[in-house]
């Protein structure tokens, strides 16, 4: 197979980037998209050109590091799959493929297709946990959890933090990511003591990071490689309003501990 690629090249955060054309031949239909990029890079290195920088690690769809916006879609056209799980047979021979980085003010570009997603870490640091120190736990079975709730919590916890929701959202909103973590812990008894505080501080941190606002379009859900549901956002909304209007606790940004 043969493809024409239009790849976003950007030297660093301070230099403006542009789409650069490449063509690649002898692509095997069973290659993953990243393996195709590997080959392109190999060709570039042999020609003495600089290879395309891109984030990737586990290449089995779980680490959340790969992050390409391919032909106008986060992680490309294959439903419920990360970029590394996208295979070239999805495309037609001779296709032109656009490859861009995640685009959001909160995810500044480091180089080419590599972005800085530390905003997600900071949101988790603001409250995406249960405050329990090592060694304090009671026996695990002292805390029964409704099976259905546990399953729902697991559905939300499956989020890999790749940022496709932000990339796909026309508003660059991070609410699917944030709501997945809030939901996971809100559904479990372990999460109850900090439930109000968590919702308030994580939302506050999210706003601080410069993500856009959710307008319930649903692109995030459609493009999420782990099929995280919009119901999580509704749950986050409920929790946030209940906490903000009802709870006596108040939280200021960066203070969610």
């Amino acid at each position: 197979m043969k493809f024409n690629l239009k790849v976003w090249r950007q030297k660093n955060a301070n230099t403006p980037g542009k789409l650069v054309d490449y063509s690649i031949d002898n692509v095997n239909a069973d290659m993953s998209f990243l393996e195709m990029i590997d080959i392109l890079n190999d060709n570039l290195v042999r020609k003495g050109e600089e290879p395309i920088a891109f984030d990737h690690d586990c290449r089995e769809g779980i680490c959340g590091m790969c992050s390409m916006y391919i032909n106008g879609r986060a992680h490309g056209p294959h439903h419920a799959a990360t970029t590394c799980q996208l295979y070239m047979r999805t495309f037609n021979d001779g296709d032109t493929i656009y490859v861009e980085p995640w685009r959001s003010k909160a995810f500044p570009i480091i180089k080419d297709l590599v972005t800085d997603r530390n905003a997600f870490d900071r949101i988790i640091a603001s409250g995406g946990f249960v405050s329990v120190n090592t060694g304090q736990a009671q026996d695990a079975n002292n805390l029964p959890v409704n099976k259905d709730d546990a399953e729902k919590a697991m559905d939300a916890a499956a989020c890999i933090g790749c940022g496709a929701c932000v990339a796909a959202c026309p508003n660059s909103s991070a609410m699917l990511f944030v709501s997945a973590k809030i939901s996971q812990l809100a559904l479990l008894p372990q999460g109850q003591p900090e439930r109000d505080r968590r919702a308030m501080s994580m939302v506050s941190q999210m706003d601080e990071e410069g993500f856009g606002n959710c307008t319930n379009i649903g692109a995030c859900e459609a493009e999420c490689p782990k099929e995280i549901k919009l119901t999580n956002i509704a749950r986050m909304n409920r929790d946030y309003f209940a906490a903000s209007f009802g709870s006596q606790e108040t939280v200021s940004t960066g203070e969610g501990h």
């Binding site: 239009k6 976003w8 789409l19 916006y69 032909n71 106008g72 879609r73 056209p77 656009y98 861009e100 685009r103 959001s104 003010k105 909160a106 796909a168 026309p170 508003n171 660059s172 909103s173 609410m175 939302v203 506050s204 999210m206 706003d207 410069g210 993500f211 856009g212 606002n213 959710c214 307008t215 319930n216 379009i217 649903g218 692109a219 859900e221 459609a222 493009e223 919009l230 119901t231 956002i233 509704a234 749950r235 986050m236 909304n237 409920r238 929790d239 946030y240 309003f241 903000s244 209007f245 108040t250």
Partner: protein
């Protein structure tokens, strides 16, 4: 910032305000649509004028009208703010975007649809509400709204503009109705279908009834 303004200016707070004002405006549409539909009695505007007079003079309704204006302004202000902030959240745009099936054009275009409705609203209030209230304030009596309708909708251009307004309203409601429930956190597997059904039905029925008014008058189905 005190706690209250902090909530309302947060990203979720903005959704909250949008949803509440949106639902409030939807409730206004019900009243407005119902009373205007009185023209379909085709009784020379008698029923319509009766209820129009009630709405225009009843103290409680007049007080609520202030709330309505505030609701409109808030909804518009928040809408523009969201539009601006969301645009700024992606300073460099994608060169090529292919929207997934689930992401509907009208959901993505609420700002545009809202702006069209706003433009329509300016025209619409300039036709009826502003002259009427001004007249009430200055002269102490209402204008003959029914007759004004018959006159204004003789102009085909205005009829077309009104139809466009209704059309924008349809798409705006198609997203807005269901969306307001999601924003308020009212998403429940048992009720979602009902909300979607009612929302879709509402979005079709109300703009349709509105649209029938200028059409009926223009084609002289109503005298």
């Amino acid at each position: 910032m005190n706690w209250f303004t902090k909530i309302l200016t947060s990203s979720l707070g903005k959704k909250f305000v949008m949803a509440l004002t949106g639902l409030f405006l939807i409730s206004f549409l019900v009243i407005h649509c119902t009373i205007n539909a009185m023209i379909f009695f085709n009784d020379g505007g008698a029923t319509f004028t009766h209820w129009g007079h009630f709405m225009g003079t009843n103290t409680i309704i007049r007080t609520l009208e202030i709330g309505l204006i505030i609701g409109f302004l808030l909804h518009i202000y928040e809408g523009l703010l969201l539009w601006k902030q969301n645009r700024d959240a992606r300073p460099v745009k994608y060169s090529y975007v292919k929207h997934p099936e689930k992401s509907k054009w009208y959901s993505r275009s609420m700002g545009l649809l809202g702006t069209l409705i706003l433009l329509f609203l300016i025209m619409h209030t300039a036709h009826f509400w502003i002259p009427n209230r001004t007249h009430q304030f200055v002269e102490g009596e209402e204008l003959p709204l029914y007759q004004m309708m018959l006159d204004i909708f003789q102009n085909p251009l205005i009829v077309v503009l009104y139809l466009l307004g209704c059309f924008s309203l349809f798409w705006h409601l198609l997203h807005g109705f269901r969306s307001s429930f999601q924003s308020l956190g009212l998403n429940h597997v048992k009720y979602n279908k009902t909300i979607t059904f009612v929302g879709t039905a509402f979005s079709i029925v109300v703009p349709f009834i509105f649209a029938m008014m200028p059409i009926s008058i223009y084609f002289k189905w109503i005298q």
